[in-house]
């Protein structure tokens, strides 16, 4: 459903991504891993459209989206969370979730029903009790859960998750993974960027490994965990 070819990104002198090919199949659970600074977040941003690729092309559901703006990609069904949460700080948590309901799903701005849907989404991530609070009253962890609720609000078909499990206790992480499996069961493709190996290996059907902006390995979790290149990247020389 997503087919990115030759994705390349330079930030000044830093080469964040070099000629990366990246495919996601419909309904797939894909893990995207790599050491710090290897380009995972940059790749997600290029797929979501907030960063433009220097070279290469992106196609989504057979349509070229290389130059399509992020809000249109959101409407086409690409949702993402931010690794460092980006709350809309002047709005309550509920309003944060209402924004995508209005702009992606086209629900009515001031409808009671729209609020109900938003509240339900917050409930899914365990935040319904905090719906009327402002982002600055929440912990970093709660903001990451808000990120997930907002991304789900757009009813994405391709969901890009940037370390949503980081900092969760293993019990909480299991809850989120179960939620994600449920979503995936309904046909949503999920790309999971994660440092917690146990979680990402358990969740993913296929894994892509980046190192210094280069795709160094691709395969099922079993293959990846025995790949000497990957071990070298993680352990260092």
């Amino acid at each position: 459903m997503l087919d990115a070819k030759g994705v390349t990104k330079n930030f000044g002198g830093v080469r964040a991504l070099s000629d990366v090919d990246f495919r996601v199949e419909k309904g797939e659970r894909l893990g995207l891993i790599g050491p710090n600074g290897s380009g995972k977040t940059t790749l997600l941003s290029i797929i979501a459209g907030t960063i433009r690729t220097d070279k290469g092309r992106l196609a989504y559901k057979g349509r070229d989206i290389t130059r399509v703006s992020p809000h249109k990609r959101a409407k086409l069904g690409i949702g993402r969370t931010f690794q460092i949460p980006k709350p809309l700080s002047s709005m309550t948590l509920l309003d944060n979730v209402i924004v995508p309901l209005v702009f992606i799903r086209g629900l009515h701005n001031k409808d009671g029903e729209t609020s109900d849907v938003a509240l339900e989404l917050l409930q899914q991530v365990g935040l319904s009790a905090k719906a009327s609070l402002r982002p600055k009253q929440l912990t970093q962890l709660e903001l990451r859960e808000m990120e997930l609720a907002r991304a789900l609000a757009g009813k994405p078909e391709l969901l890009l998750l940037d370390e949503v499990l980081a900092g969760l206790t293993s019990g909480e992480a299991d809850d989120v993974v179960e939620l994600l499996r449920g979503l995936n069961g309904r046909g949503i493709a999920i790309v999971m960027v994660e440092h917690i190996m146990r979680a990402v290996m358990g969740f993913s059907q296929r894994i892509v490994v980046l190192d210094f902006g280069v795709k160094i390995a691709e395969g099922d979790p079993e293959e990846i965990s025995n790949d000497p290149e990957v071990l070298k990247a993680y352990i260092g020389e």
């Binding site: 809000h71 949702g79 931010f82 980006k86 700080s89 209005v102 702009f103 701005n109």
Partner: protein
Amino acid sequence: MKRNLAPMYLLVSLAFGAILPVFYKQPYFYFASYIVLQYVALSVAWNLLGGYGGYLNFGTSAFFGVGAYVSAYLFNSLGIPEVIAILAAGAVSALFGVLIGYSSLRLRGVYFAIATLAATTLVQSIVLNTPALGSAVGLYIRFPAAPAIYGNLIELLFVAMFGISVVSIGLSYWIENSWIGRGLMALRDDEQAAETLGVPTFRLKLYANVLSGFLMGVVGSLYPLYIGYIEPYSIFDLGISFNVFVMTFIGGIGTWQGPIIGALVLGSIQQAASVTVTSQYNLAVVAAAMLVFGIFSPGGLKGIFSRLFGKRSTGTVN
């Protein structure tokens, strides 16, 4: 104010403004109130993009001036009826908003702010070099006759500016509570997050700039009739832009009430000061107020009122 009551408030206010001069005869009152109301309308218009969207326009006088010159030219040289001249002035000013918007609203806010400043200088120098617009000498305006119901032109102008203010406030209230306002506030908070959540950020900024420009142009279009003579230095005066920014800031930026409160309070002080002391201190009054509020109450007067009466101080939607 409940939503379903809003149109009624609007109509009652309009009727009040239209009838007032029939009963209350006091030329100075209308002369001074006109300027205060002009600042109310300009500040409310400014707040649409600056307050909700967070993109600061320092070129209010450019939009205002485009409106003033378009209408003055149409009245004088072509003898076009006033109402049409006013709408044409708004339209040209809106178009001006499209141009500035297209060139700078894709970039970060600071580029837009600079572009609006530059635009002020640009239109000023275009007027200075256009003989048909009076160049540096300026244009004298042929006054139209006031309709019989009002005793003189200033009463009519007061009524018109009152109406423009009320309509601007109504528009602002509607935007604040609609999806447009929600989108603008979202992009003000975080533009990348807003885009990712489906907000067409560029389009909304452009809408706000164009509507804001239209209203500023309409406000400007009446000024030649009020003052009788326009020239580029007093029309494209950065002082106007500065006033509007500070009034909105002090009243409470990003809320529909804020710019009204700020313009009424500061505008009245300025008018009173220019009678009792001298108008030379107008900008000083505003600058001092800006410093005091910047330090002690970033939420502005609206924030203070809200705290006193226990309401929220930000302009977010529920």
